[in-house]
Amino acid sequence: MNDMTPEREERSANLKGLGCSRKRVEDARFTQGKGNYVDDVKMPGMLHGDFVRSPYAHARVISINKDAALALDGVVAVLTAEDLAPLNLHWMPTLAGDKQMVLADGKVLFQGQEVAFVVARDRYVAADAVELVEVEYEELPVITDPFESLKSDVVLREDLAGQTTGPHGPRKHHNHIFTWEQGDVKATNQVLDNAEVVAEESMYYHRTHPCPLETCGCVASMDKVNGKLTLWGTFQAPHVVRTVASMLSGIEEHNIRVISPDIGGGFGNKVGVYPGYICSIVASIVTGVPVKWVEDRMENLMATAFARDYWMTGKIAATKEGKITGLHCQVTADHGGFDACADPTKFPAGFMNICTGSYDIPVAYLGVDGVYTNKAPGGVSYRCSFRVTEAVYFIERMIEVLAIELNMDAAELRRINFIKKEQFPYQSALGWEYDSGDYHTAWDKALKTVDYEGLRKEQAEQVAAFKRGETRTLMGIGLSFFTEIVGAGPVKNCDILGMGMFDSCEIRIHPTGSAVARLGTISQGQGHATTFAQILASEIGLSADSITIEEGDTDTAPYGLGTYGSRSTPVAGAAAAMAGRKIRAKAQMIAAYLLEVHDDDVEFDVDRFVVKGVPERFKTMKDIAYAAYNQAIPGLEPGLEAVSYYDPPNMTYPFGAYVCVMDIDVDTGVPEIRRFYALDDCGTRINPMIIEGQVHGGLTEALAVALGQEIAYDKMGNVKTATLMDFFLPTAWEVPNFETDHTVTPSPHHPIGAKGVGESPHVGGVPCFSNAVQDAFRPFGLRHTNMPHDHWRIWQTANDLGLHE
């Protein structure tokens, strides 16, 4: 193709395609309060649901008395497990192959568990009625520790009594869920036994919560005349919800329409199916009118899907020079009362086996044991691909611990172990094929930008000054290098409830040269309406401004697996590009006909097809679109439409290099972030402005998790952090200025080379913030301390090291 002449450059810029920092088309409505969220859905006669929830973490339900609630004016129904049992809806399947109580069936397993569902005329009456439902409980012993759970005689899941095999293999104990093993344990142990150096460390990645600003909710509307059920809801995977709703309710799938309207953040919290959805559907079927259920903040934090809660023990073997020779990782995973992890079916610990990180580690082993406790179910990927934050935190901490063991600089240790550029595609010891990477270039650029050597010098001076009593502040330099694994995924090994994890795009070009494209994903703030239009603009030569993107309505959008795990761009974005190419292929035939030349004699040129070698003879895509609808072209059907279902050949592997400089007040435990530098390589960059926003958001949530955000339980299983007073949600005040940077290493197998970026900053950010805290205390003998690094825990670390008077 020709070089970019100014004229071509201008035509290209007009498309606002790949690489354009196009303003988000969604923002006009969001910034003016004109979004349409599920709580904005109001229908005539609509009823409101609210839950009676368990105050206990483990108890037998002796009796439920609805009389007083039913007597209250405005109360229509009070549903309990007994009411749902005849429909076989008192339990529901989870995405992890387990089942979960919709409403308490004889006992409760966590505080906040759904016990009864009140349906009333308005939200206020419903809340009043909840207080009038009398539930008699008999308290049972509470287990909040997974290790204790595996030793306890107390049977948490009586419904599974005698089942020695679960969906993921043998169960070792009545509170054990599964064992998942990857890699070669024998070879790994051999390497560890014979290694020159072995570093070992145990770490707890605490339980936290995605806490989207909009909580979960739905409106179910059963139309008894035409037999159709419409379900609006905060669903990250609307098509999956439709299929599950059909399987559970027996309503044929074509009679169910699921609509995800605007969603105020998901971060994994809105992937699963919650009892509120089932109860609302049942209530609408029973009453014949629409029923709305929207949870409040405390319900969201206490009862909907949490994230993390992984106890990880690592052993890393290396030569004296620091070349890593093997890695062993053993995880005890606390899944709460039901196994409701949102992972692809064959991956009960998600992609935890990416835990060899960015390093060329020849031998490795991963073992994960899932365990039941009296905590809320979940285990979702909070702004990350499946369990990838856990994996990256694990390896980035193990690297730091190994550096301490070897008395080596942690940046250098990383450098000598990185997978080299020429090793890609790289086969990891735990079974993944990394598509592309250039880690050394990214790392060198990052270290040079922040003047790493200068920082280390300054840190040493600071330590000396501290020891002389001249300062009470310590300086930490946090490093992290991460490799994500996103874009699930190839249908051959990735599915959710049996549905292959492909995605889809359907395009219709209108006669006047504008278009609508519909995809199987759903934006929750990612800006799909902006970026997918840019992908298509570059593929089909129409301006992004002329392309409407629609998602989230299962009656109109093609089947897709939804948005989470940074899969939208890798999978649906690829589908969009492929559908665009189908459009272009037909457009080429139309152009050739219009230009009266052979198909092979025209070529695509930004926004048109030109006769090869005769650039003044061309037809623009607008001309071609019009011709598609108003000319009878021999051998071609009228119209210009395409659909593509894309089954990715592999995952994509975005990576990045992060550095955090932190000053820590040893006396108060207050950390101050002086600088944060983030270099991201997400392959082809679609919209740099949106990438920057995604990086800022992901880092903000990383800061939250590393520095204080947690779902904490007391011994009785009470949630201690169920409000935003105690659950840390950072604001502009707590968040530092982030410096962003990038390199570009396209994915070789993705149609446009894009890899996805929304979750990278969270995955890389958490270990970077944590490493900064830990690095500050390394000169005083700290090896490892667990997150969250809130003030008192940092203070405790300093205190344990004898740094206070």
Partner: protein, 284 residues
């Protein structure tokens, strides 16, 4: 987060408020900025069948500075406190403290009177008023009375105010010398892990008088006479600061919560007080 039903009143004068309080007794509560009461109602931890909104009562508004006597109406918002030039000049510690309360949106609504009256140990104004030796003016069916801020607090959410009384205003003498309000919190909008209000008057290069109060380190604000006494006559050298901290630590009684264990809170209280005294002394 859905409150129970309540009746809403919006009287135009304090007499109307007192009448409603007498009529409904325990079932009535007054509403100032609402940042403590409304969340409690939404959580159904406070049941208020009769809610009396004070925002239309002109007599509860306004800041007056008469010579060295400062009067702040109960319904003055934190935002007004921060932006009142005369007050910032006469008692700058108020501005420094108010800027550390929550965030701008909360400060537009949150009031001085509400912050003082509620008896929440997390609130910043009670300790500050003790530091300034403020007098609290209350009005009830039997007329008005005045109680010293240092005598007002009995226990968490328990104060000297009777159920049928309302807080009208606080009055204090403009402080002299250096000041500091030092607060450690986990995040914006949080209550203090530890906070210290310090006023120091300096004469002939030495501390002439000092006043020290601590926030959220007991179930009531803690005015530490002992700590202030240690400073008197000193030049706030290291040994004096240590003695003042030791005296303060004898007066506080923090409890463990999500902000941390008792040992941490006591340590931080000492650090925060040391910094507050140092800053106040620098400014004296």
């Amino acid at each position: 987060m859905i409150p129970a039903a309540f009746d809403y009143y919006r009287p135009k004068d304090v007499e109307g408020v007192i009448a409603l309080l007498q009529e409904h007794g325990d079932d009535a509560r007054v509403l100032a900025g609402g940042h403590s009461l409304i969340p409690m109602m939404k959580l159904r931890m406070a049941e208020v069948p009769h809610l009396i909104d004070l925002q239309d009562i002109a007599a509860l508004k306004g800041i007056t500075i008469d010579q060295d006597t400062i009067t702040i109406g109960a319904m003055v918002s934190q935002h007004e406190l921060i932006n009142h030039d005369g007050l910032s000049a006469a008692a700058p510690i108020l501005r420094e403290a108010a800027l550390q309360i929550a965030d701008p949106q909360v400060r537009y609504m949150g009031t001085v009177g509400g912050n003082i009256a509620n008896g929440d140990p997390g609130n910043d104004m009670p300790g500050l008023m003790q530091c300034l030796d403020a007098q609290i003016n209350l009005l009830g069916p039997d007329g008005s009375r005045t109680v010293a801020a240092r005598d007002y607090y009995e226990a968490a959410y328990m104060t000297d105010r009777e159920d049928d009384e309302i807080l009208i205003s606080v009055v204090f003498t403009a402080p002299v010398g250096g000041f500091a309000y030092e607060k450690q919190k986990r995040k914006i909008g949080d209550y203090a892990t530890a906070a210290a209000a310090v006023q120091i008057a300096k004469v002939d290069g030495k501390v002439a008088s000092a006043s020290i109060a601590m926030t959220n380190l007991s179930d009531v604000p803690v005015w530490s006479q002992g700590a202030a006494d240690e400073l008197a006559g000193s030049v706030c050298e290291t040994a004096t600061l240590k003695a003042a901290v030791a005296a303060m630590l004898g007066d506080i009684d923090p409890t463990e919560d999500n902000r941390g264990p008792v040992a941490f809170k006591r340590h931080v209280a000492g650090i925060i007080l040391t910094r507050a005294i140092t800053r106040a002394w620098d400014r004296a």
